[in-house]
């Protein structure tokens, strides 16, 4: 008691020892909190800086333009050989050589230097173009073709004079030539649309690699997830929340759903491999299997958020509906569900965003693959979403394992693309919540 009376004595305006201690503790706590946030922000900024500095350059690409004439004889000879694109490549190389000599750009570059300036993809582009327009054979065509990955890297700062001196795949003479061609206007670096539309390319052609197949594959999977997880998840939540009796069975189900949401995603991959591929005999690497696996993974997230938003609707709404003679089902579908829709949508979009960035389960069902053909949404042989494809996160994983350093840039560019998609989805979720949310 003496202690208590002692602390009560003295003015309120002067800080006694215990108050000072409590105030100091509060200040410390605030400092810890601020420190934690600053640390998190710093890490995020570092991550973003490293990704953007590595990857921003993948949105630009170096092209070179020079005239090429393919005669009918050359065309026939090329089409008659085994390695047709190899024959076209030789034509392109000699056309570039002719152009450089005619415009006095060659300098001290050797024939081999000139040959390696052109990307391997260029020959394939030319062949596709000639097959599509047979009437241009024999005439002079101005092609805009991809430059080799190392040359491209020179204009992006990835390849410098110092690294080129050590690098066996590029020579200083080639860089000089690239500089002269830029001055001449026959070599330009411009925005890289094909990064978003091109399919993947092999290790020898990093300059041609794009995200086309991966974006398409991710899109198909998201369509599968949306069409399956949303109706199943919403139906399950409505039943559990509005119709099911509260007893131990529903409790067990509830605990299990919460547990499922925390199961490592690779487990769903193992399950998908066993059920969808080995048992149901769906196709390896197909967006359908990927979508089904991601549906399983996303369901708990959607069920939990849907139940939470159904719970937040006041009972008075249900009571009023029932009071004017609506059936239980009418009260749910006419009143509760529309009011809960913003919350359900938000949960679904966040679940989808999670599924979009998921890699681990896709590794097991064969989506980490080299896929060059655009997957069709439907084919008569393989059914809906049955053609092999990759997905954005596995494409990133795939590119980080390739030997050519240009793929590091591509992988970072793909990460930026994925982050932009995720940001857009999360922004949409916030927008929908802000616009339609009602508070009681």
């Amino acid at each position: 008691m003496t202690d208590l009376s002692a602390s009560k004595s003295g003015s309120l305006l002067t800080e006694d020892k215990r108050t000072a201690k409590r105030n100091a503790a509060e200040k410390r706590f605030r400092a810890y909190g601020l420190g934690a946030i600053l640390l998190a922000c710093l890490m995020l900024v570092l991550l973003l800086i490293s990704i953007v500095t590595n990857g921003a350059s993948s949105f630009k690409q170096t092209y070179m333009a020079f005239p090429v004439t393919v005669s009918q004889e050359e065309f026939d000879a090329a089409e008659g050989s085994i390695l047709k694109t190899g024959a076209y490549n030789k034509m392109l190389q000699s056309a570039l050589m002719d152009y450089l000599v005619a415009n006095d750009l060659l300098g001290d570059a050797t024939e081999d230097d000139v040959k390696n300036m052109i990307s391997g993809e260029a020959a394939a582009d030319v062949r596709r173009m000639l097959l599509a327009n047979a009437d241009v054979i024999g005439t002079e065509i101005d092609f805009s073709l991809l430059a080799n990955g190392r040359i491209d890297g020179y204009f992006k700062g990835r390849v410098t004079r110092e690294t080129a001196a050590l690098d066996t795949k590029i020579t200083a003479a080639q860089l000089d030539l690239a500089d002269r061609m830029t001055e001449d206007g026959s070599m330009v670096t411009r925005f890289n649309w094909s990064f978003f539309t091109n399919p993947d390319a092999s290790v020898q052609r990093p300059e041609a690699a794009g995200l086309g197949v991966a974006i398409l594959g991710s899109l198909y999977m998201m369509a599968v997830v949306l069409c399956l997880a949303l109706p199943i998840g919403v139906a399950a939540s409505i039943y559990l929340e509005e119709f099911a009796k509260k007893n131990w069975v529903t409790d067990v189900i509830e605990v299990n759903i919460a547990n499922l949401a925390a199961v490592p995603s690779i487990v769903y991959g193992i399950l998908g491999l066993a059920i969808f591929i080995n048992f149901a005999e769906l196709h390896q690497s197909s967006p359908l299997v990927g979508g089904l696996v991601l549906t399983l993974m996303t369901l708990p997230t959607i069920i939990i958020s849907t139940r939470a938003s159904l719970k937040s609707i006041p009972p008075s709404i249900r009571d009023a509906a029932l009071g004017v003679g609506a059936s239980k089902m009418q009260s749910v579908f006419h009143h509760v569900l529309p009011l809960a829709a913003p919350g359900i949508l938000t949960g679904t979009i966040i679940g989808l965003a999670q599924a979009l960035g998921e890699t681990a389960p896709l590794l097991l069902i064969g989506m980490v693959a080299f896929v060059k053909e655009y997957p069709a949404a439907y084919s008569s042989e393989l059914g809906l979403f049955g053609e092999a494809s990759t997905a954005l996160p596995v494409q990133i994983f795939n590119w980080t394992t390739r030997s050519d350093p240009a793929f590091v840039e591509r992988a970072s560019g793909a990460i930026i693309t994925l982050l932009i998609f995720l940001l857009m989805m999360n922004a949409l979720a916030i927008f929908l919540r802000k616009k339609f949310e009602r508070r009681w």
Partner: protein, 344 residues
């Protein structure tokens, strides 16, 4: 209610698409991550030079690829397995059990394994003995096994720089590890005379002596890399004293960051490997499920395209990427053309 209808119809669609498993029109390949770059180069060329769609090439390792290859015959199994080692008898037996009886073995060429360090570091000239003395878990001293005392390269071999030993070697799931153990560690063990010493200690048990030769120290000076060569490169960039084990093609793509060490005074290159001078190399293979030829369009065409002179030959794109072309390519081409199965 609309979404009940929606869910019912989507489920129906999913079931329908599940039942319409008909002929797929592309070749499916899986297996070794070492063969993957070569296979994807060929797949790309095959797609743009033929009327067939580009094959789908997955990686995942030689063993995983062969396991899937042996799962059975049918459109839902892969057509070709890539491997950085020859198929084992046990795998052939598993294959036979599951009905995969007609396997065509195709050797595509040779791949060199090189030792490389940071470009700004010291130069190294190794022999297999140096690696054995640096990485062995235990060394024989006066008839007893003692833990490897060497902590710097100069302790393993006085001619090497006195740089601390930090080695990044492929993990046990890689086929490359097997080659490293047999062609470097075991060789070094025999060259230094440690093999006989181990034999003596183990009472003449050859297998025990061999496993002692190939046991790698676990005190942190040797690090197993289970990822890809890009991970090894990142580790060397972080620790400039590190020496890494790479594939020749990976090194050739990164000569601005890495310098290669000689092995027994031979500089690794496609030439020195093809003549057999450079000792650490291994053959690469792929295996065709001959029972799928005729069902899967383009399968045999892809295989014969792969081994054609224009592609797998010494002037082809594979050699340009670092594959040491097989001098017996003609025999391989004939085997693919006739679909000569293993055991025939």
């Amino acid at each position: 209610m609309s979404f009940l209808k929606l869910s019912a119809s989507t489920l129906a669609i999913a079931t329908i698409s599940a039942t319409t498993a008909a002929a797929r029109d592309n070749v499916q390949v899986a297996g070794s991550s070492t063969v993957l770059p070569y296979a994807s180069i060929i797949a790309e060329f095959f797609g743009e030079n033929s009327d067939f769609p580009t094959p789908v090439v997955e990686s995942g390792g030689s063993s995983a690829g062969l396991k899937r290859f042996c799962e059975g015959v049918g459109e839902n199994t892969i057509d070709i397995a890539n491997a950085s080692r020859a198929i084992r008898d046990s795998e052939i037996a598993t294959c036979a059990e599951n009905g995969v009886t007609d396997i065509v073995e195709v050797r595509i060429g040779y791949d060199g394994i090189v030792f490389a360090s940071d470009i700004n570091g010291a130069e190294f000239a190794y022999t297999p003995s140096d690696w054995f003395l640096a990485l062995a878990a235990e060394l024989p001293v006066d008839g007893a096994m003692v833990a490897n005392p060497n902590t710097s390269w100069s302790e393993a071999n006085a001619d090497l720089p006195s740089q601390p030993i930090i080695a990044f070697i492929p993990g046990t799931k890689h086929g490359t590890r097997e080659v490293f153990e047999e062609k470097v560690l075991l060789q070094g063990c025999e060259d230094t005379g440690a093999f006989e010493a181990f034999m003596a200690i183990n009472g003449g048990d050859e297998d025990a002596a061999e496993s002692s030769c190939m046991a790698v120290r676990a005190d942190g000076l040797s690090v197993d890399i289970d990822g890809d060569y890009t991970e090894t490169l990142a580790r060397i960039e972080a620790d400039n004293n590190g020496i890494g084990v790479f594939g020749l093609s990976f090194y050739e793509n990164n000569t601005d960051k890495l310098q290669v060490a000689t092995m027994s005074d031979v500089v690794p290159s496609t030439e020195s490997i093809s003549t057999g001078e450079y000792p650490v190399s291994r053959p690469l293979y792929f295996y065709i499920k001959a029972q799928h030829v005729g069902t899967i369009p383009g399968l045999q065409e892809y295989a014969s395209f792969f081994v054609a002179d224009e592609l797998a030959g010494p002037d082809g794109p594979l050699a340009a990427y670092g594959l040491v072309s097989d001098p017996e390519l003609a025999a391989t081409q004939e085997a693919v053309a006739n679909l000569t199965t293993m055991g025939n």
